[in-house]
Amino acid sequence: MASLRDLRSRIKSVGNIKQITRAMEMVATTKLRRFQDRAVASRPYAQEIAQLLGRLSAAMGDKLAGEPIFRPGPGKAVALLVIGSDRGLCGAYNSQLFAAFERWIAANPGVDVRCFVYGKRAYQYLQKRGGVKIERYFAEPPLEKLDYRLAKFTAKALTDAFNSGEYREVKILYTAFESMAKYVPTAMGFLPVQAASTAGDNSASDVILEPNVEALLGKLVPRYLETRIYNALLESITSEYASRRMAMKNATDAATDMQSLLKGVYNRRRQEGITKDLLDIVGGAEALRGK
């Protein structure tokens, strides 16, 4: 049985927690907004690049299959870029990602998986889990400071790994941001490049190409890969903040409920105490008068 004083201190500590979770919720909301704006702003660029790639690969025709970057690599291993979060307190964001990872491993038994990792949580998880080789952990700069340069750097690291010939393919495991309340861990193919040639678009042969198809494609493919990475990173971090905001909102709501419950108990207990005291006094006075 908690005393009145214990109850009081519990009410107070729940209030403090509520203040903190509310502040964290607000921080997550602003950051979420910021990353979302950037995701929206990057869309026209990514679209243009993807369209150009489609057009150029159509212009390349059969020669396209000869380009090594469009073919599975000679190696046996599969490189997997896992994008997790650096910090916790973001609800089920990481555990969902890890569950998706396990599902993917189960669906591809016997594959030599080598991981490229973003996010401290993902790194710790994979290290503890064992069974997969961690090829590289991108710790600096953190995902929080994500910009296009970072995406470029990552894309280059992955492309270099693919070009080394050790891998069959490169995949990305990231969290796709579908809406404020829906974020789905997704495994996406990265390399070899799957060019969705925009067939039906007026025949590519009458386009003037400056300087020529090969040179253009050689420049375009890295840009295309960068936009894919940029997008995957942006969506992951947006999902992380959406998840964190939700978790903090739930925590704040739970604290509010807890507070009102405790207050109810406290008031009832206080009143009981007062009633008992009064009864004692009245009883005492009655007894005295009766003498």
């Binding site: 702003a41 990057s42 150009l52 190409l209 400056e210 253009l216 375009l220 940029y230």
Partner: protein, 144 residues
């Protein structure tokens, strides 16, 4: 009124420019490419440099980095990694990075580290091109 073409400069962060131009000159990898309204469908690789265009009879410029340009249906879309309008370029910073790049090149040439040299050269070119955009801005008038 002469016919115009739509010029749009798109980078990963934003759409830098959306204008109606009567002529555009883009820095192609094999030299400058002039584009007038109703140009044929074309895809071109773009190099680091000043992109000059004429809007309302006035020549304007902006800085673009490596990317691509596509002309189609009287619209020129320049898709590049970075694009900066002249008023956004920090001239002091460009000068500073020019100096830094020159120093690095002078220092590295003797010890011979090829990768760093390439990086310094690219940085130097970007710095010089940025300065070109700011200095050339508004000086030239085009008669039309």
């Amino acid at each position: 009124m002469a016919s115009l073409l739509t010029l749009r400069v798109i980078t990963p962060d934003r759409i830098v420019l959306d204008a109606q131009a009567s002529s555009v000159r883009i820095p192609g990898v094999d030299g400058s490419i002039g584009i007038l309204p109703r140009h044929a469908h074309m895809v071109a690789a773009v190099d680091v440099g000043p992109l000059r265009y004429v809007e309302n009879g006035q020549e304007k410029a902006l800085f673009v980095s490596e990317g691509f340009a596509e002309v189609k249906n009287n619209t020129l879309r320049v898709v590049c990694e970075a694009g900066e309008l002249p008023e956004e370029i920090d001239e002091a910073r460009a000068k500073e990075s020019e100096k830094r790049a020159r120093e690095r090149m002078a220092g590295k040439k003797s010890s011979g580290e090829p990768v760093d040299l390439l990086r310094a050269e690219l940085a130097l070119r970007r710095a010089l091109m940025r300065q070109q955009v700011t200095s050339g801005y508004g000086r030239q008038r085009v008669r039309s």
